[in-house]
Point group: C2
Chain length 500, copies 2
């Protein structure tokens, strides 16, 4: 094999993997945005064939041969090709550590367990889900043992989602957050509540769609490469940097829900749309980690989209679309309403201030489950106790409690902390950005291009050609990660808002 | 190899081919209904990988081995498996007759030529398309020579789309049609035109969507397995019998356009939804021929949807959705308006009476092109002359003339006659159906279930497990195909409508 043959094979393999990924993503997008409801069976057949074919591509004996050959000649190939080789070898080595039949059995377990969770949530029936969750946790622990026998299994999964963040670090991170946020929430709770009732008038969907289009324009998103579809739970899916899909859900009785979901998903989309051209159709395309991804979406949703300047800019436009609904409302009222903080049961509906407490509940429970300090059957009671402790809320049933998220049923353990990290990254990025850009003035004029350019230059263009810690360091101009930026941001914002 | 191993391999192969077909269809549906506009490149990469993988599956040496083994043991396997083997061997033998590099070159030619056609149509530039069309025709002739050297090339392609219908038969068929239809159009032309102006008032899209839902319900289509998306040119795409997609295009200034496109595509959908369960995920799933497919769509669109009884049933509903637009309009006026006949330039917008003349223009020209009696550069003039001769119309430019259809650019030669055959099949099916069902009374009550059941029993459930001629014979209860039914139907309907 010559180097050029091996490089050709590397490129072909990645393009094939991209193609199967693209096809499976489109099947998913179609399923949740367009497909008739009773069509899962035929889609399942197709996904089965495509994922088997994709698995075979990766495990063909010619693949490690090519990869190790290129690693041996790493100095003779481009840095980018070298990084591709490293990433594919890492994946290959992980995959080859797990016996094939165990790997398949785990996939099947996760499929089943996710389905069982769906039903259990709908029927408020934790007991039916419990035996599956037990198996999922056991299989995560077993897998971590194969992949990294030297590590604590929960740390392994935490680092899978955000490199560098083990329980040791996260315990500190979350306690810093808790120390500042809990008293803040308590103080806010003493204040007279903000009136946000006008957000819940009747807002016709067609006009909300026009608002989405306007928001996408403000976010400088090229609609030739990014569409908005409608679905139950909003998400972003990138097929490649030239084809990114965001989704939203319009509620006629809630204008802020879709408005902020579009800005949030728009932040994810900007990350993908800004990826380097040379990364496309390779394993290095796409965002580098969940935490960095979430930093982009939360940056635009909260730091920009819920800022006073942005509301000054955008409110006249919203009012023009909804003159009756917002008659007599001022920009200041709207600003206060979209920032209203109030403890609530459901994570994905939580406000900016209370959000991280929802994450802490999950993090605490995952830790105890992995360490064997908590049995699955005790989980609902433990959940309810922590919701009481952290948020002061009584959980009425498991559907609105421990069963609300899909993550655990799908095997996504150690994933939740990335949401909180993303918010904290975003606050620090904002602080660093302020040193070279007048963020408030730009935002108040609706001129987001320089802000997006700043992020593209330091984050977006690298795709996953740099690991999360490298990207973060670039974005923070070498400064170490410090959650104080985030807690300061929250304290400043909510103290002013509630006159504390 | 044992029989049971070979049957297992047969099933696996077909499920894999189904999966690739499903994925490629979803990519297509997404492209024309949902994808952002500038995303063709990334989709092209994926389609290239998937079609190559699908081609490799079919051409793997183990495939003919399995197929010929099963053919040798045909008496020991089920009739259905035997038919699958026959069909796959037929495809395999065709494929193996064409040198691989020539096959690939033809695919590339067709891709390019279809793109060139798109641009040429938009820019009214036949000259840019002509050299590609020359190559397409030459390649069709060469391919026919590989596949069936003993046949006339045009006959080969005609029979590819509708078995049994060579030029010899079609010449007779079309001259029978012409003989009756041309004088009828002339007579209608002498009558005072029908007033259909109320169809072109402002019909809000949202209410048109409600009309579509109502029509789907009348057609007994289970929406759990069939959705309506919106696109430029309406079409139906089946992924499997449990997942069928129809599309439509809403024009705010034309209520009949989408109404009849939904009924037309609904007819196609019923065919697919009615396929046998045992055929799913095999090569025998899906309609058996273009002509039979079109017979189902035109049956519902015209024989049912444009009948006096159906209008009596549906008009009150349409009027309820559009009370202002249809104020003072009676069911009889609506019936006359949706059946108005008038020669026009564009095939896909033609009315029921003049439609077949558009097909005849294309059939005549294809014959001459394949026989070398007409050069591609003479095609626009020949087109315009025939439009004058058959429809009495002056063609203003090639965009509204010879460039209007995508078929030729995509290599679909010998395809158009199936549209006319489908209409003629439908008229004869209606006559046979009338012997056991009171079609008019059922239609006037909106009770289409017995009519659909009749078609399902004789046509739909066979998928493509029976060839078109067998299916037609079953549907016609053994009676030979006779286009007189169709011409009689048209003469009766239009004589009554225009009081001839």
């Amino acid at each position: 094999m010559t180097i050029s043959e091996a490089l050709q094979k590397l490129e072909t393999l990645q393009k094939q993997l991209y193609a199967y990924g693209h096809a499976m993503s489109i099947l998913y997008i179609d399923a949740v945005t367009a497909a008739p409801p009773d069509t899962a069976a035929g889609r399942g057949e197709t996904l089965g064939v495509l994922s088997a074919a994709s698995y075979q591509l990766k495990t063909d004996p010619s693949v490690p041969e090519m990869l190790f050959f290129l690693r041996d000649h790493r100095s003779e190939i481009s840095d980018l090709a070298g990084r591709q080789v490293d990433k594919l070898i890492e994946e290959y080595e992980k995959m080859s550590k797990v016996p094939m039949d165990e790997y398949v059995a785990i996939q099947q377990l996760l499929n089943t367990s996710e389905n069982v969770w769906h039903k259990a949530k709908a029927e408020n029936d934790f007991a039916s889900f419990a035996p599956y969750l037990e198996k999922v946790i056991a299989s995560r622990i077993r897998l971590a043992g194969y992949y990294a026998p030297e590590k604590d299994p929960y740390d392994y999964w935490l680092e899978e989602h955000e490199k560098g963040f083990t329980t040791e670090k996260l315990d500190v991170f979350f306690s810093q957050l808790r120390e500042k946020i809990v008293p803040l929430i308590r103080a806010v709770g003493q204040c007279p509540p903000i009136d946000d009732s006008f957000l819940f008038h009747c807002y016709p969907v067609e006009a909300q769609r026009q608002l989405s289009d306007a928001l996408m324009k403000i976010l400088c998103i090229d609609r030739g490469h990014c569409s908005i579809a409608e679905t139950e739970h909003p998400f972003t899916c990138e097929l490649n940097k030239y084809d990114v899909r965001i989704t939203t859900h319009y509620y006629e009785d809630n204008v802020a829900s879709s408005m902020y979901s579009v800005i949030h998903e728009g932040g994810h989309a900007l990350y993908e749309l800004g990826g380097g051209d040379a990364l496309q159709y390779t394993c290095l395309a796409g965002g580098t980690s969940m935490g960095i991804h979430e930093s982009q979406s939360r940056f635009f949703e909260n730091m920009i989209g819920r800022s006073r300047g942005f509301i000054d800019f955008v409110f006249p436009l919203v009012q023009e679309l909804f003159p009756q609904q917002l008659a007599g409302v001022e920009a200041e009222d709207f600003y206060r309403a979209v920032n209203k903080a109030q403890p609530s049961l459901i994570r994905i509906e939580a406000d900016e201030l209370t959000y991280c407490l929802h994450i802490m509940v999950r993090y605490e429970l995952e830790k105890r489950l992995f360490r064997g300090e908590l049995a699955v059957k005790e989980l609902p009671a433990a959940w309810n106790a922590l919701m009481q402790e952290y948020l002061g809320l009584e959980v009425p049933d498991d559907t609105h409690g421990v069963l609300q998220d899909s993550h655990w049923g799908g095997g996504m353990m150690g994933y939740f902390p990335s949401y909180a990290l993303g918010s904290a990254y975003a606050a620090q990025m904002l602080a660093v950005m302020r040193r070279s850009l007048d963020v408030d003035a730009l935002t108040a004029r609706g001129e987001l291009a320089p802000i997006i350019g700043w992020l593209r230059e330091r984050i977006h263009r690298y795709g996953s050609a740099r690991k999360a810690d490298e990207v973060l360091s670039l974005a923070l101009e070498g400064e170490p990660f410090d959650p104080t930026y985030y807690t300061d941001y929250l304290v400043d914002k909510y103290s002013a808002l509630y006159g504390l």
